[in-house]
């Protein structure tokens, strides 16, 4: 009976390969929640803890929290799931992905589902965070893990260079002068410490938007159908950035890696850096010297883009699930919890009410640098976001890098970026 047994074995193998996994049906309302962790590790635990707290207070709702990788991985997973007909119920993704998600017909606005008090709820957030969350009179995103660009400075290096360690450069001219004094060279002319580093790898547009805003330029319209990359204000801003390395030689040449700037700062290889507020906790824990955090310097005005992730509500779920999602998002963004989240991660608390809580007040009293990001919010603008956002951003990034590495002039690069963006956005007008 050898053959029969072998046949049976083969059949078992075949069956094993074919059987797909089953998921048992449940009576309670179940929602799936995708979230990204830009920095990894402890943040996952914090989110899981918050989800567990929500489930405890809402025994009829089960939240399946899925850690989906970086922002880029998360939007890729979300859109794959949407195309496969298995969209999550709720997710945190970049605020700039709003137009992409609308174009893919993947999300619904919060307005209708949130009911009567929707307007009051939305009004509780800082307007500069809502700028990236609303379009066409609808609210598509609820601010959650939001950040902005700030300037960090090494007070010890300032003292060493003969500058007042408590007086941070407040204008472009002052920043350039301070950087010149802070740049330290050894006997053979090799740089031991740079005056300033502004990262330009990956997403240079975000930091560059600090410059453009300060120079009075607004990069896109609210509908996300038009960009203004080739205006004189933008070209001049780019020229200033290029000059920092090429003319003044106070900033490293070529592309400065986003991930190594905090390390450079902590190692004393740069005296100032532009970075996200998301690095605040990291720098605070690891800096062996006194450091300060300041708003970005002004030219025509102060300014910085906002950044980070919003909650989105997805299409194609039952009314109960939608209600559960809104309940969940509201719970996650109460002032108390927003304050806890901000203290634990370094993200900017998204509502004035959160800053008024006792916890937040105590935190700011102990660590005043945390409040800088909040104070800068009144000068902040929406992060660059358009239809077909990633493609437009890439056209902009590529040309910024071309200009920063000297293969194009600032004017030519911005002209090329504008032409490419116009070509991409034509079909949305």
């Amino acid at each position: 009976m050898k053959t029969t047994r072998r046949t049976l074995f083969a059949a078992t193998l075949a069956a094993g390969a074919l059987v797909a996994g089953f998921t048992p049906a449940s009576a309670e309302t179940k929602i799936t929640f995708y979230y990204p962790v830009a920095v990894g590790g402890p943040v996952t635990k914090i989110v899981d803890g918050m989800v567990a707290g929500f489930e405890k207070e809402h025994p009829d709702v089960k939240v399946e929290a899925v850690y989906a990788g970086s922002y880029q991985d998360t939007i890729a997973k979300i859109l794959t799931a949407v195309k496969g007909g298995a969209a999550p119920n709720v997710a945190v993704a970049l605020s700039t992905d709003m137009f992409t998600l609308i174009d893919e017909d993947a999300i619904v606005p919060f307005d209708e589902v949130a009911g009567k008090d929707a307007k009051a709820w939305f009004a509780g957030f800082y307007p500069s965070f809502m700028a990236n969350s609303q379009t066409g009179g609808k609210t598509w995103g609820i601010p959650f893990q939001r950040s902005t660009v700030v300037m960090y400075w090494n007070k010890a290096a300032f003292k060493e260079a003969g500058l007042d360690p408590e007086k941070v450069p407040a204008t472009w001219a002052e920043m350039r002068e301070a950087a010149k004094k802070l740049t330290k060279r050894d006997a053979s002319g090799n740089v031991e410490r740079w005056g300033i580093e502004i990262p330009s790898s990956g997403f240079p547009y975000w930091l560059f938007q600090g410059f453009t805003t300060e120079n009075g330029a607004i990069l896109m319209n609210e509908e996300g159908t038009k960009v203004a990359f080739d205006t004189p204000a933008v070209v001049d801003a780019l020229q200033y950035w290029i000059d920092l390395s090429v003319k003044d030689k106070v900033h490293p040449a070529g592309i400065v890696e986003w991930g190594t700037t905090p390390k450079d700062f902590l190692e004393g290889k740069t005296a100032m850096m532009w970075q996200t507020t998301g690095n605040l906790t990291n720098v605070r824990k690891n800096a062996k010297f006194d450091f300060g955090v300041a708003m970005l310097p002004a030219e025509k005005r102060r300014g910085s883009p906002t950044g980070g992730g919003n909650f989105y509500l997805f299409k194609g779920q039952s009314a109960e699930q939608q209600k559960a999602v809104v309940e969940f998002v509201k719970w996650m963004t109460t002032p108390e919890r927003t304050a806890e989240w901000s203290i634990a991660t370094g993200y900017v608390a998204t509502q004035p009410a959160a800053w008024a809580t006792d916890k937040m007040k105590a935190y700011v009293a102990d660590f005043p640098q945390a409040a800088v990001a909040r104070d800068q919010l009144e000068h902040a603008v929406a992060e660059l976001s358009t239809h077909d956002n990633q493609r437009v951003a890439k056209a902009f990034n590529d040309n910024l890098q071309a200009a920063l590495t000297g293969s194009k002039t600032a004017a030519q690069a911005m002209k090329d970026a504008q032409a490419e963006a116009d070509r991409i956005l034509k079909s949305y007008r």
Binding site: T3, R6, T7, A10, A11, L13, A14, G16, A17, L18, Q72, A76, L79, T100, I102, D103, E104, D105, A106, S188, G189, N190, V191, S200, S201, G202, P252, A253, G254, I255, V256, E257, T260, D264, E267, K269, D388, Q390, R391, K394, N397, D398, N399, Q401, A402, L404, T405, S407
Partner: protein, 310 residues
């Protein structure tokens, strides 16, 4: 006209379906094959056919379903300067990494094949980069390349050299990522060469020694021809890897600065999973498959003639 009959050709006759024959054995064979057929079909063949079909259609977006567009996707691709940039980069990448990695692999294999002290440790050291995941390798090299306090600049600093920014400069970035690929691949190819070297019968060496052949002559007339099948195998793999391994690009440069390190597969990822441009991504996939299939075919047909399989 009759073509000359070759010894290795199968006997001619009526075509026979594989497994055509007595009942139960056929069922058994098919059942044993079923799992791999299902997996292959589900994850390789069906997706490829779908991609081929998609390449003739527009990208579906929300409320706009996809429709037939003929060859438009390839026309668009031909007008995309970044595609040409990636193709050029990838060609340079292949031409730069393959000869170096294969040459290095052969040199290392010959070295550790001899009787030298610490042979096992040396073999392991050469093979280590292969065992490491590419993401880990990329992170290590990211540190090597870090301006100022990275390994290379620290060594350079001892000799008074200025800090460099190899990944941040478009003229050096591609070479910098190529070095990583050579470092990673050479050890892998060495293993194949080493295995082949062990297969060479020792009496050949003895015979050559009696004939008074020099070591170089022995290598050129005996070792190298006997390694030819392995070299062909390695070359096919090296070419495929040159177009397939882009993990380190994600970690180290993200295709930048200004597309200086953008390779075809990385571009494919951008089109497919950043821009969600299914049409362009499908067209590029077909291009990539055609390129790879023809390179492999050329290698097997032309190089295969010169290779002695014993």
């Amino acid at each position: 006209m009759r073509s000359p009959t070759r010894l290795d050709e199968p006997p001619r006759g009526r075509f026979r379906w594989p497994f055509a024959g007595s009942g139960r054995r056929t069922v058994e064979a098919w059942l044993l094959l079923l799992p791999s057929i299902v997996l292959f079909a589900a994850f390789t063949h069906v997706p490829f056919l779908r991609t081929f079909v998609d390449a003739f259609h527009s990208t579906p977006k929300g409320r706009r379903p996809s429709h037939f567009v003929g060859l438009d996707n390839w026309v668009d691709l031909a007008h995309d300067p970044i595609f040409w940039k990636a193709l050029t980069n990838n060609t340079l990448y292949a031409l730069g990494t393959i000869p170096l990695a294969v040459g290095l692999a052969l040199a290392m294999a010959l070295f550790v094949n001899g009787r030298i002290p610490g042979r096992a440790a040396l073999r392991m050291a050469y093979f280590t980069p292969t065992v490491l995941p590419m993401i880990a390798v990329a992170n290590i090299w990211l540190f090597f390349y870090t301006p100022d306090y990275g390994l290379f600049d620290q060594i350079g600093g001892l000799f008074g050299l200025a800090a460099t920014n190899r990944l941040g400069d478009p003229s050096t970035a591609l070479i910098a990522v190529m070095a990583v690929a050579v470092w990673k691949e050479a050890g892998f190819f060495m293993i194949f060469y080493l295995a082949a070297l062990q297969q060479i019968p020792p009496d050949l060496r003895e015979a050559a020694a009696i004939e008074g052949a020099s070591r170089f002559t022995f290598f050129r007339r005996v070792t190298w021809p006997l390694l030819a099948p392995v070299t062909l195998f390695i070359l096919v793999n090296a070419v495929i890897n040159a177009f397939r391994t882009v993990d380190h690009i994600f970690m180290m440069t993200g295709g930048g600065p200004d597309n200086a390190t953008n390779l075809l597969l990385f571009r494919l990822y951008e089109l497919g999973f950043k821009f969600w441009d299914q049409a362009q991504a499908s067209a590029l996939t077909v291009v990539l498959i055609v390129v790879l299939a023809s390179v492999a075919l050329v290698q097997f047909v032309f190089a295969g003639r010169k290779v002695h399989y014993r």
